[in-house]
Symmetry: C2
Subunit: 345 residues, 2 copies
């Protein structure tokens, strides 16, 4: 449809008349948006339609008319008014200057977002779900359960370490008797406070081992080398299979490598996290748990900022954020599944 001054004026008149009709039906001054001066009001509505930055005014006016219209008791009159409202709204939405214009969509971001409705998974893309979470929010359980329900792989820091160790062991043709290596990483060490660790057995490092590590990591500090190895593994896996990955800045790594994924952050109010950690670690006092959560949050923030330059847990750095205290572990899994599964239809 072509829009010129006449069609816009005709549309403005229809809006004015719809308001008057709603008013006539309700018979109360509470039911009127525009004053009785038809010509003046129509000219104002025309202005609102022509000036893009007036869209929100027109939107509130239309919302008020339809809010009022819905209260009309007479079924026939209600139907007539709502049909006209729907037609008008459609016409307004199609205006080149209407409030429906100026989308906030970031095409680059949406292209990488496998949940986006603009772009479905292409046949070559794998479904990679990156989950960041605060400690005590149940995020790991949510990720693990989701992976199990979707029948896809689940990766966390321990599994990455183990996979990398095995890949390296294979390269070195050193035979391995199983068991998990000690993870030399402040952040992960903190995670194990007060627990006996099958995943974190200590190992002595000899000078020879230290030299071997140095050449293996190309002179990088081991912590950075581990990060880069994990990053490479995440990108490789994302080209091969569907999976869920916990933490490791995986969302940012994948975005930087232009690999499609969904990024989700899971958290819960601090008090709720304290309660959960206390119920899981019954030997810790409340004071210890509070201190541990604060330390872990700070370490998470620093780790994320160090490797990505971004703020951890800030809404605009993720696609979606879920408060697990509102849904629980099972509820959060169901919520994510609903989005993924209806998205695929």
């Amino acid at each position: 449809m072509e829009y010129n001054r006449e069609t816009i004026r005709a549309l403005a008149e229809r809006i004015y008349d719809l308001d008057a009709e709603v008013y006539r039906n309700l018979g109360s001054s509470l039911g009127r948006v525009f004053s009785e001066d038809r010509e003046k009001c129509v000219r104002e509505i025309v202005h609102e339609m022509e000036a893009r930055n007036q869209g929100h005014v027109l939107r509130s006016e239309l919302a008020l008319i339809s809010n009022m219209a819905r209260t009309i008791k007479d079924r026939e009159a209600w139907k007539k008014v709502m049909t006209e409202y729907d037609h008008i709204l459609k016409a307004v939405s199609e205006l080149p200057t209407s409030f429906a214009e100026g989308d906030v969509l970031n095409y680059e971001r949406a292209e990488l977002n496998t949940l986006s409705l603009k772009k479905r998974f292409s046949k070559d893309d794998h479904m990679v779900i990156c989950i960041g979470r605060t400690y005590g929010s149940g995020g790991s359980e949510i990720g693990f359960t989701l992976a199990d329900e979707l029948k896809i792989n689940y990766y966390d820091v321990e599994i990455f370490s183990e996979v990398l160790r095995r890949l390296e062991a294979e390269k070195d043709t050193v035979h391995d008797k199983g068991g998990f290596p000690y993870i030399r990483d402040e952040e992960n060490r903190a995670k194990y406070v007060g627990t006996r660790q099958a995943f974190a057995r200590d190992q002595k490092i000899t000078v020879g081992q230290r030299m071997k590590d140095f050449s293996r990591y190309h002179g990088l500090p081991k912590k950075d080398a581990v990060f880069f190895n994990q990053s490479k593994l995440i990108c490789d896996k994302a080209k091969q299979e569907d999976f869920i990955v916990m933490g490791r800045c995986a969302d940012v790594i994948l975005a930087n490598n232009h690999i499609p994924h969904i990024s989700i952050f899971i958290t819960a109010p601090f008090e709720q996290r304290v309660r959960r950690v206390m119920s899981v670690n019954q030997q810790l006092t409340e004071k210890q748990v509070r201190k541990m959560l604060k330390t872990l949050d700070r370490k998470h923030i620093n780790y994320f900022r160090f490797y990505t330059g971004l703020e951890w847990g800030k809404a605009s750095n993720y696609d979606l954020l879920i408060n697990s205290a509102s849904y629980g572990i099972k509820g959060s899994v169901d919520l994510i599944r609903r989005m993924i599964e209806s998205g695929e239809v």
Copy 2:
């Protein structure tokens, strides 16, 4: 099922044997989680199952076994192993000390959350969706479009002001010729920078009017009186109808009054918001837009903190947060609808 030391030990043995079976099928040291010392490993697994705080270790071990198991090429062997894995996982999940315990769910919060899967809308509850948003994120358009698609009412600050003005006008039996009052609120005044306002026509206040206002608002500053009147209106409406409400701390007001609702926060990266506001307000320079967004964010933060004591836009203060840059306006509407509609089934 009763769990005692024997059933737990039997389960640990099944886990060890499953790992060995996966290893046998893959024929590589990369495919083994536990070492060859069966007795030692079984005792460790038993410990992991009995000590609640070891759940995450067992979870990673199980995930690693199933990640490996999924790579088994032989269809028969794969099926056998995965069936056993499913049985084991179910048994582990049912352990009183398993990692599935210690849910993060806040029952009080979930009870108020109309999207929660634990509790459906009761027949008396209305679907009230509270949307907070950053300026320029398209949040208002998302709320308006969602309300229109769901055929429910839409309320924003202008509509609230108008409804309150009309209710008051009716009370005073003063006849009204329509048109919107000037909104005497710093925050909203800022929203109108650079736009000609149908919603914000100026009015002169006489001394008499000021005295009348004073008694009407029981001596409260008008800003607070407006907030309290709006709060009352939100609670009243929530008992009467389904609707969407933009901002106004509606989520906190409803939670404090124990009225079920869904709270959603919509935002987008700052740069994306700048681009969107510039495309909508083409007469503003980039510098002006950046300054305006920073000012508005600060005002939002202060407003929210003043009336609720909480941090605006922080993930744990909402049920769900959406990055509109990932989905666009239409995509965000669809995402919310998918959650609500599958939630109702």
